[in-house]
Symmetry: D2
Subunit: 341 residues, 4 copies
Amino acid sequence: MLVFQNDYSEGAHPAILKRLAETNMEQLPGYGTDHYCEAAQEKIRQACACPQAQVRFISGGTQTNQLVIDTMLQPYEGVVAAASGHVNVHEAGAIEATGHKVLTVPQHDGMIDAGELREYCETFYADDNHEHMVFPGMVYISHPTEYGTLYTKAQLEAIAAVCHEYHMPLFIDGARLGYGLVASGTDVTLPDIARIADVFYIGGTKVGALFGEAVVFTKGNMPKHFTAQIKQHGALMAKGWLMGLQFDTLFTDGLYTRIARNADEMAHRIREALRAKGYRMVYENTTNQIFVSFDHATIERLEREVRLGFMERYDDDHTVMRICTSWATTAESVDRLIGLL
Amino acid sequence: MLVFQNDYSEGAHPAILKRLAETNMEQLPGYGTDHYCEAAQEKIRQACACPQAQVRFISGGTQTNQLVIDTMLQPYEGVVAAASGHVNVHEAGAIEATGHKVLTVPQHDGMIDAGELREYCETFYADDNHEHMVFPGMVYISHPTEYGTLYTKAQLEAIAAVCHEYHMPLFIDGARLGYGLVASGTDVTLPDIARIADVFYIGGTKVGALFGEAVVFTKGNMPKHFTAQIKQHGALMAKGWLMGLQFDTLFTDGLYTRIARNADEMAHRIREALRAKGYRMVYENTTNQIFVSFDHATIERLEREVRLGFMERYDDDHTVMRICTSWATTAESVDRLIGLL
Amino acid sequence: MLVFQNDYSEGAHPAILKRLAETNMEQLPGYGTDHYCEAAQEKIRQACACPQAQVRFISGGTQTNQLVIDTMLQPYEGVVAAASGHVNVHEAGAIEATGHKVLTVPQHDGMIDAGELREYCETFYADDNHEHMVFPGMVYISHPTEYGTLYTKAQLEAIAAVCHEYHMPLFIDGARLGYGLVASGTDVTLPDIARIADVFYIGGTKVGALFGEAVVFTKGNMPKHFTAQIKQHGALMAKGWLMGLQFDTLFTDGLYTRIARNADEMAHRIREALRAKGYRMVYENTTNQIFVSFDHATIERLEREVRLGFMERYDDDHTVMRICTSWATTAESVDRLIGLL
Amino acid sequence: MLVFQNDYSEGAHPAILKRLAETNMEQLPGYGTDHYCEAAQEKIRQACACPQAQVRFISGGTQTNQLVIDTMLQPYEGVVAAASGHVNVHEAGAIEATGHKVLTVPQHDGMIDAGELREYCETFYADDNHEHMVFPGMVYISHPTEYGTLYTKAQLEAIAAVCHEYHMPLFIDGARLGYGLVASGTDVTLPDIARIADVFYIGGTKVGALFGEAVVFTKGNMPKHFTAQIKQHGALMAKGWLMGLQFDTLFTDGLYTRIARNADEMAHRIREALRAKGYRMVYENTTNQIFVSFDHATIERLEREVRLGFMERYDDDHTVMRICTSWATTAESVDRLIGLL
């Protein structure tokens, strides 16, 4: 069976497994206070060109979103997100479980618009009754988005400008950040992200690590007693060095972006083949997720040999499927997939 | 100054004040365990034609919504509401503060559509990934709605049918229930409400009481240890009889509906006058709230002598204002208002 | 039946009912923004000799405790209280329901000791591991305590000194504050309370009001967007003026302390009679609650004619009962009670 | 530097790393739905002699405690634990953060007593006022306890009997379960645990795994939509198979208990040496944690070469230190430690 279902189907890049084996019996202090975490933090600060960045490692994406949003919001605030945002749709209510509303603005290919965000805030503060409403307290975007699309640097800066005008930190979910940074046509670099966002995370789980996300607070704004708050959320790993070591490896000699590039290149080849055969791309992007509309006969035929992701009904005859590549996708499996299309 | 800003600008119907004075020094057990509460509960059960109804008194609407929704939902469930629903917009995040997401469906003049509700549920359960989403766990509607509109009996029954198909209790917010029950053209009675809803409340704060809402569980479905849960929400009044006495008064000799009728009749007169002068009603209804579009000169002129409610911008030149009557609105003040239009 | 079960068995002082009747049809803005609330706030500021005090009215004690504690604590903080504190024992988990732990220190006749509080804090901060523990974030005491006892001014100042050394606001639950302020032998005045506490409340429900507590923030430290937070907790009364009017009445011409004095005097008479007959007082105090140990035959005999409060088993043969007086207790009922002892 | 600070200083048993490497590029479905999880679940069911057991894998201990307690309790219930219980002291308020109070009973060498538990419940239900209190909803114990002590089978059965009499599930925190099962003198087996507890977990993080705890529901009582609830708590690992694979390895050919035995044997040797030199053991136990009282000169001397855990002040001259062994402790390091004592 070919598998293009998601970007977390395999373990870790072999360089990570090698280092885990090499350091396995080293005795290390717990909870992320070890020298591997320190080294990884320093490498991330350098890659971000953000010497003041405060970096912590959390084991998964939903956990990171829940933790960052809950610890940065005041109780009377909610987080503004695209209607299609992961925190709004696919986290089983993890944000609300911590007491905060997700306030939605329209999505455009998964992205929010700075103008509409400003309008949202203006309308809110113009309402005499806004003390009876949930205050917009931070803005959550994902880059790449849930549909694989990418903001331009100008778009990010415009969103950040609105955020700061209304005293809302900008939080960028970078679960697939690597695939965005190396995408064809993007003008957004990691230092740009660190400069524009108030907090963001560098996804490891989907980009070469066994697990782990590196949360980066860029303005000296890490919440007070953050360790206690991580612990309270059940998110403090005893063997925190497991994540330090992984990120140290990923941020040594550019491994993180190097392996991300493979995913985008493989996706590009599949996309070209799909286009050549006349299939319709539902969201245009240059990252590792392909959203394509197939008729039901095609789906039935493909699913005999390939595991794809189901997205949504397109029309009576078509369904949107997701084809996902990753750092681990091989050229051989791509060739086989293309042969089946 | 004329006041048509809302329906909670005055105290209570004089009959209530009279009984408060008469019973003031009677020594009563606390927390709603007194004989006035019992009498009121029995009168409500009879008015609802629902002998098995379990009735409790809560001091305000947001508190009631928060309490009912939180105690009836499982932790993994959210409440489905119209995008315009009070719980979604104007409760400062009270629902999310208890850990539950408000799941929205489109509103049509403040109402939800049974067909769209079914579609929402079908789509949810058809999604392979729905364990990563918030389960629709109950349905919240208001009757009258936030725009003063009323469901027909057939519409309520259709919504209830979807609710029960998907094992969701139907919760009707009746903050203004009185004004709905006596509205011209409605075919929905209090026994209908009690038969169709799984839980609802009879609003007192806006319909003649100093404060208080009577929550009615219609199917023997009051949450376990509900007193403890009320207490935990900070909502257990020491002198619970204050609400029992008020509802006992309101449900003696039909006082509740009799005084509600005044509000609808006064609103009808204002509406007729507005129409006669060519103003545009933004939501058509027959209850005590009038939503009318005024140009800015008219608003400026009126506001010198009348306090109205601001609703929302209509277009560049017009704004939607709310004119609200109540059980306490006098014919004289209506005459004066009409004179000013 | 004689009733000495609690101090919230009757309605309100007649002066309050009179004013409710007089102002009943006055049209007032909602949510505590009316002129009666303003007047009451000003009178309370003056009675407290605290011109900068920020005053808000909340309908009940548990609600007030939950709201104040939740809005003043950081998420990683708990509230320190006596093991016997109301928030620890008798609020059905209302504090924990908002996410905060109640951290207990020993109680001595219902009071905490400044030395033990300091020791608690020292031990906490000395622990290398304290980021894995709940931070002591504020201190809650009641005055009078749950056992009717009173702190001296020196004791309160000593507790406040520890609080401020460890950056914890001191919160005084004054559900029965009136009965404490006028108690025989106390050296604590209302201005003392306002000077020593960072936040406290003046109980109305148990001291002459139908319902309502006046929360006083004494240092310009009312939580940000407090109205929104009250609303979010379901605690924002539509007709907020009902509480403003009551407190305005209670703080006109010293009514609050005048009616409180009756309770303490009646309790004194009962206490003297109990002592004369050789009964044992379990907690010594001079306020309106008497905790007395009765053998079972006495209890059985008394309960035929008097409703008392059950406290706890004392030994195999005795039970501690509470005899409670209030602003409404009559000399006649006290005489009858004494006759029965 | 010798390290005896805790039992999570090293990575994983080499057999686990080997299998992670072997299976690294296998493409697996996410969220614990893979065949390694299934195999591990089946092996655990067999080791527990509990064919109906429902097994899930969670990445850490605090997360597991928070999740199990929150999903099994009703909102009005708290969890009963020893005052020294991990959930009460060292989880930064993770239980309260989900809305539940930790109700404490006395600890005796870290253990609770069935008789005192019954008394707690009797007193609770005998209190007329218990609807104003937090209901005891489940019982949490740890085995081994935080002090390394072990319940006997009779003690566990007595506690379970009280639990079931009062309709409370018994939850056993087995973060160090392996070290308890193989301890000298214990009569408690894994099938005993599975038979007596309603839910428990088998600790991996401290017993040979990189991370992971296996939660076992023994009575078909796994909470409804548990996957959604795990997700909502931020605890659903994308690559769930990482834990399945580890537990599959640990439960193949008795690896789990085999490696646990090493820890207890090493601790036994250290304990004998301590006793021979006249040191005082503060808690007697036969598992992998040694609590010993050292004078300050000894501590100063030792800490130059060994990293130990600080526990608490014993008296003016002595401090209780923890010496902790694990599956990874070598005989050589034990010899060196003994040489230093």
